[in-house]
């Protein structure tokens, strides 16, 4: 890792958000605003079966009765839901079987982002599903995966081609009425990724989704569903970027994971949505519901997230440990700078016996940002011998930022063993001076110290992502110490 580190340190010269470009791709866009007609139109344009339309409308009607949650430690400007575009798709419909059919402008976009859509170019063996605004544009390595019976495709396709699986599992972990943003997502989601790993199959490569918001005033509402059958394994990665814009843009995704007996799912996110400028103007509102259901005995779901982007992050990847002896893990780095706000954490719901959960959360606050960890550990009456260990660390850079920890415990079984450790540290001037004295400048020193601090989490990421995550942390902290 040493050489990567060095390279990263050298590379860091770019002070601004480097993914802030906008591409001119011809888009098929629905007018702004939300109504039953818009919901129906989305479903129609996607050629969805009847059951989806009903499902969406039901969610929409529910949503109308709900309120924006206000319990998080966030200051959110009122969102005008009628001022958002709910559907934007590239006009040239890419045929999924050949790269040549993809709009060259679109390819250029992904090249700029460093997303390899060209299968020959992929040495690392990552299958990619690229989603721009609302629509999945290209899924790579489908044939290789299909040989093993693995389904990796866009949600739209899954709805049409694997409707029994979708019917069975969609909303089974995050029901449409779960929360405000989940209801909204259910009504208007236009695409996302679908993964199905058959019984006994270990997915031979990392599966990856790349999300990008492009069109102005669009909301992105993607929907991801991962189903891991008995004795299967999959590692799934998610990355996100957006152009720089003065207005806030809404991102409200839902991710559902189902793990059956002895299945294991690793879900990693490097979230780098546009965070807004140094004055706090613009940026993505990221309201995401992610939940995994350890349905089978001995199943395991592991969330790893590196959150550096978004103006506001509201996100609690959770595990429902239903199967006996199932395991849930949550590794998180949340970095906030300038005027960013993050309220993120996890929920570990212990239902089965001998269930275990681990929470490692590392918050880093700089600038005038506010960074909160919010975590719930719940042990139900029948969850004998449940175990949880939580480690929540916060690091402060400077004295204008805030770090907050809100741990909640609900223990209804006295055989449970729950441990919580929390620390708050300031990046030490003595640490920086020590680095300075060895010839390392302050900015690099901060990068080094922060990357050391988050190592436990970064180590959970696949290699390529770990490198990208380290780089992101470094870039996100540029100019925050001085």
């Amino acid at each position: 890792m040493a050489s990567e580190q060095d390279k990263l340190l050298e590379e860091v010269t770019n002070r601004e958000y480097q993914y802030g470009f906008h591409s001119d791709i011809e888009m098929d866009v629905l007018p702004k605003g939300l109504s039953e007609e818009v919901v129906a139109e989305i479903s129609r344009r996607k050629g969805e079966p009847e059951f989806m339309l009903e499902y969406r409308l039901k969610a929409y009607r529910n949503w109308l009765k709900m309120k924006v949650p206000d319990w998080a430690h966030l200051k959110i400007n009122e969102i005008d839901f009628q001022d958002i575009i709910y559907y934007a798709a590239p006009k040239k419909k890419p045929r999924l079987d050949s790269m040549d059919d993809v709009d060259p402008e679109l390819r250029a976009t992904f090249d700029k982002l460093g997303i390899p859509l060209d299968e020959q170019k992929i040495l690392s063996g990552i299958a990619v599903d690229a989603i721009i605004d609302s629509v999945s544009v290209k899924t790579t390595f489908r044939e290789t995966l299909a040989e093993k019976g693995i389904i990796f495709c866009s949600m739209s396709e899954a709805i049409k081609e694997h409707s029994d699986l979708v019917k069975k599992y969609l909303g089974s972990v995050v029901p449409p009425e779960d929360n405000y943003f989940a209801a909204l997502n259910t009504a208007v989601f236009s695409d996302g990724s679908f993964v199905y790993i058959p019984k006994g199959v270990r997915c031979p490569m990392e599966l990856s989704s790349y999300f990008r918001i492009n069109t102005m005033n669009t909301g992105q509402f993607e929907r991801t569903l991962i189903i891991a059958e008995e004795d299967s394994y999959v590692s799934y990665l998610e990355g996100c970027t957006a152009p720089m814009r003065d207005e806030n843009q809404l991102h409200a995704a839902v991710v559902e994971i189902v793990a059956l007996e002895r299945a294991e799912v690793k879900y990693s996110t490097v979230q780098n949505w546009y965070p807004g400028d140094k004055e706090g103007k613009g940026g993505i509102y990221n309201f995401v519901t992610k939940r995994g259901l350890c349905k089978g005995d001995y199943s395991k779901i592991s969330w790893t997230q590196v959150e550096t982007g978004s103006a506001i992050t509201w996100k609690y990847p959770s595990c429902v440990l239903m199967g006996n002896n199932s395991v849930g893990e949550f590794y998180s780095v949340a970095l906030t700078n300038n005027f960013q706000q993050a309220d993120t954490g996890t929920k570990m719901i212990h239902l089965g016996k001998n269930t275990r959960s681990l929470i490692v959360s590392k918050g880093i606050s700089a600038g005038r940002s506010q960074n909160s960890y919010r975590g719930l550990v719940k042990v139900s009456k029948n969850a004998d011998n449940a175990r949880n260990f939580s480690q929540c660390d916060s690091m402060l850079l400077g004295d204008k930022c805030g770090a907050h920890t809100f741990p909640y415990l609900e223990i209804n079984n006295n055989t449970a063993k729950v441990e919580h450790e929390a620390t708050t540290s300031k990046i030490g001037e003595d640490q920086i001076f020590y680095c300075n004295q060895r010839g390392i400048n302050t900015e690099d020193a901060v990068g080094l110290i922060v990357n050391g601090y988050v190592k436990e989490v970064i180590n959970q990421l696949p290699m390529e992502f770990a490198v990208e995550a380290q780089k992101l942390l470094q870039i996100s902290l540029e100019g925050s110490v001085g």
Partner: protein, 250 residues
């Protein structure tokens, strides 16, 4: 190599260094001794560029350049090394990574070629042997969970890696048992060359049994009040600092 003239420095409004004058030539080892609170560690910190201290007067010339005008990292890159009295822990950052970053930064500054990974590891092996450093220490995070002795050894190891022109050892001997002291002293002696120099800041003469200084200075109330050859250290050990205090106050 180093020319200090009338150096005065304050912290929290209190003057700690009250007009230091000192000349050090290449190839020399100087010991700076003195009672607690005389300003020894402050001198080391000010030379290294610790911003907790404010220089209010005086000049320091290092290899012909104005040292006080440079950032701490540039002083390091110019070849000034401080062995910390209390080395700092940096959790999660491996010694290897830390040193490689440091060495490369220094090399870049001097326009030298950066070492390849394999050359760097070779250098590490070689230097570890030179200072008798336990191998597993370099696999751990910087100073994290190191014993007091290990931390000090680690400072000398870093010095061996970075190969400075001027090394300042701030109480490197304090808290060391006799074996560790010998290891540290051996390291310093082996690294001695005609073109580098060392300042030993110490409270006790003990270290000077192993490292023979060319000059010994006594710092008292922020000034160098006595300079002589190595015999001064022996005298201090025998008679303590009281006679100096009396001499000064007389």
């Amino acid at each position: 190599m180093l020319k200090i003239r009338n150096l005065r420095a304050v912290i929290d409004g209190k003057e700690i260094l009250r007009g230091i004058n000192l000349d050090i030539k290449a190839g020399e080892i100087h010991a700076i001794m003195g009672p607690n609170g005389s300003g020894k560690s402050t001198l080391a910190a000010v030379l290294a560029g610790n911003e907790a201290f404010e220089v209010i007067e005086g000049s320091v010339e290092f290899n012909g350049k104005d040292l006080l005008d440079m950032s701490p990292e540039d002083r390091a890159r110019e070849g000034l090394f401080l062995s910390f009295q209390y080395p700092v822990e940096i959790p999660g950052v491996s010694m290897t990574n830390f040193l490689r970053t440091a060495l490369n930064e220094q090399k870049k500054y001097r326009g030298e070629e950066i070492l390849s990974a394999s050359d760097f590891l070779k250098l590490m092996r070689d230097r570890k042997k030179l200072v008798d450093m336990d191998s597993d220490l370099t696999n751990r995070s910087v100073n994290e969970g190191f014993s007091g002795g290990e931390k000090k050894k680690n400072e000398i190891f870093q010095m061996a890696m970075l190969n400075p022109g001027l090394a300042i050892l701030d109480e490197t001997d304090s808290g060391l048992d006799i074996d560790a002291l010998r290891v540290v002293a051996n390291g310093v002696n082996k690294l001695r060359r005609p073109d580098n120099a060392t300042i030993l800041i110490t409270h006790y003469q003990r270290l000077l049994d192993y490292i023979v200084p060319d000059k010994v200075h006594v710092l008292f109330k922020g000034q160098i009040v006595k300079s002589a050859g190595k015999e001064l250290a022996v005298e201090l050990e025998k008679n303590g600092y009281d006679w100096i205090k009396q001499e000064m106050e007389a």
